[in-house]
Symmetry: C2
Subunit: 309 residues, 2 copies
Amino acid sequence: MSLVTVGSVAFDAIETPFGKTDKIIGGAGTYIAISSSYFVDKQNIIAVIGDDFPKEMIDKLESKGVNLEGLQIKKGEKSFFWSGKYANDMNSRETLVTELNVLGDFDPIVPDSYQECDYLMLGNLSPEVQLKVIQRLNNRPKLVALDTMNFWMETAMDDLKKALKKVDIIIINDEEARQLSGEFSLVNAAKAIQKMGPKHLIIKKGEHGALLFHESNNVFFAPALPLAEVFDPTGAGDTFAGGFMGYLASTEDISFENMKRAVIIGSAMASFCVEKFGIERIENLTVDEIKDRIAEFVDLTDFDMHHAI
Amino acid sequence: MSLVTVGSVAFDAIETPFGKTDKIIGGAGTYIAISSSYFVDKQNIIAVIGDDFPKEMIDKLESKGVNLEGLQIKKGEKSFFWSGKYANDMNSRETLVTELNVLGDFDPIVPDSYQECDYLMLGNLSPEVQLKVIQRLNNRPKLVALDTMNFWMETAMDDLKKALKKVDIIIINDEEARQLSGEFSLVNAAKAIQKMGPKHLIIKKGEHGALLFHESNNVFFAPALPLAEVFDPTGAGDTFAGGFMGYLASTEDISFENMKRAVIIGSAMASFCVEKFGIERIENLTVDEIKDRIAEFVDLTDFDMHHAI
């Protein structure tokens, strides 16, 4: 069925130990839309850009089947820009530049054609914007997912807590889960966060995989593909969310069994993302490449304990 | 078939955020022997203790079916003693006291009754002692596994490299793999270490599970059980090694498929170990407890991608 994504569509400039880019296309909304496009037919984006954003890129999103009615283009204004530099171990990054530009006063518009949406992905944006999108949908979607980050916990915790009460699943990384809950153990962090609202929780652990907590008593441990080199981690989390939500929206099944599949698909999509700068690796994948990658994930954790002891 | 383990049988004093012990029984050899005892019938230990070691504990090992002919008891000398304190996050520990005592000039004896051993576990000890045990076996075992630590990389790298040439599998943690190889990426670290000798490699990542690299092209990602609280991590790595080698020795099958099972069994045993201080949790397990725990590991990673995309 249909997926609505709200998230930034923006410019990034990235420096990693492997190289450096000029301004390239980035933003959570971009990664989520491209990644989910391999799974769901009807998807719709809510975002804002300036008139500096390249026409080819807008066409590219359209060619991927993304409905852009909710994409506002602000005349004479500039798109959001982020620039960052990764440490040698790729596990930490320094923000060099953040120019909010059009995101500074983003007032999300939900077009009529988005109103029947069943799946809603609230990409990492201010909780205020995330709340507005929920409020502006006439009917509650079947599944609402939210991503956030430490910055919002530090500057907008009240709004974030309001938003959490209205979502079904939160998708964050391990450090964010610890900060949000005040608990070091991820099991205790998950319990604490589930009490804040979301029934389900995904904790992304980068090279260590991801944990899915589905309702109160189901846990799934998803692997990450052991990679020789992570070229550029930017957007990996959003690409994960896009694969995850795109698959759920296409199958219309939010059971534990199907969410496990969705986590594997999200992980497979993220494993492509880190292989090149920006969206380069994920913008032109073939179905066979995706199938082969998923098969690698199956092999990676497959074992048979039958009659072992 | 038979397993020979060389490793310390010693005293520990442990402080964690949950409590503090007096001198309790510890040592790599102790954990490995107890853990493997649930799987292999014939096992044999090579170790040295002082006459301060409690008779009940020697009896306990004997009651577990451990052949103690290779256990030297030094009159008038003291057993190895280690004392350490864990940080609040349990991810780092500080060594408070190390008294080598009898381990200082440990000359391992390999009794005739051990000579037909098929499986050899070289617990974390000086590479010189590990090499002596290999040399003193008349026939090369079917599988030789080695554990080591950063201390030996810093003080005895030449001997460690000699030992690595003679072993089939090395079992170390992620930081040790990085230090030994000089590579940050664990995939590259594994390749570099395999060139040093061992065909197989297990990298233990604590709460993030373990990676098995079997020969040059097989990789398995084993989960760790998400635990609300890790009470005391002391001995978890040795308990893993004991379950792993005990299962391999009992099944006499070192194929990739069976090593995957052995990794899951080692992980299950380690997950018990951390629940209480020292050997308290692993010394009296029932077969049903172990079976149930293994079933939890199966559930944790089980998914079915059939016809997913």
